[in-house]
Subunit: 109 residues, 2 copies
DNA sequence: TATTTCTTCTACAATGCAGAAGATATTACG
DNA sequence: CGTAATATCTTCTGCATTGTAGAAGAAATA
């Protein structure tokens, strides 16, 4: 059915982090992954708002984790990308790739 | 001074098109470049709004072209990326690269 | 005046952002 | 034990920035 709505810059980054973290993707960890890997700042609010919106669009799903906590704290909420999200992600990545490929700013990246 | 505000997805795409088109970058052509190269839709309104915002931020500059028109029509307005815009562009591209590099969605792109 | 080419305008929708507040678990200590 | 301190994580709220569409307007030639 090909809706072709585009993902925002931060949405792309969040989904990339989700994929990287596989089954260890919960809020705090996702934020950490983004900041350490890319240096890009990501406030808690921004992150959760984005995750929530992605979930509304059906691009990610979530489930609350077991109370495994080694030391205090609230239960984690784990996220994972859905098939639909994967499709959208791929399309956005492809678009960027087509536009950036070959540029000096790109190769140097 | 490192402001580090992030570029939006479409802003990145527009800047990429600007760089590609070099001195032939005016509205209609930019739009064409984006759509033919990546398949991504870009309405006139969206494009000019984005160019205008980028100019306000000092990321692009513009000048009106000579009335060269081979056959009717209004004067073109040529855009080019500024040093500051280039810096911001590079940073955004780098962030994406760091997040995407190594992912299957990326290699496949 | 008709036609062509290109840009502006207007109004609204979607995304991004920050940090205080809230929830819920373990640990400390009487 | 009871309950306060502490640690972890997520929600909430309000606002700023970016994205979108297409009709309307400007300016040139035929």
């Amino acid at each position: 059915m090909r809706k072709s709505k585009h993902l925002g810059e931060f949405e792309i980054i969040v989904l990339a982090a989700l994929i990287r973290l596989a089954d260890d993707a919960y809020g705090v960890k996702i934020r950490e992954e983004i900041e350490t890997r890319s240096g890009r700042k990501a406030s808690v609010g921004a992150l959760y708002a984005t995750l929530s919106r992605l979930e509304n669009k059906g691009y990610v799903s979530s489930h609350t984790g077991e109370a495994t906590a080694e030391r205090g704290g609230r239960a984690k909420r784990y996220y994972q990308i859905t098939a639909s999200g994967e499709e959208s992600f791929q399309q956005s990545v492809r678009t960027l790739s087509l536009m950036l490929n070959g540029l000096p700013e790109w190769s140097t990246a």
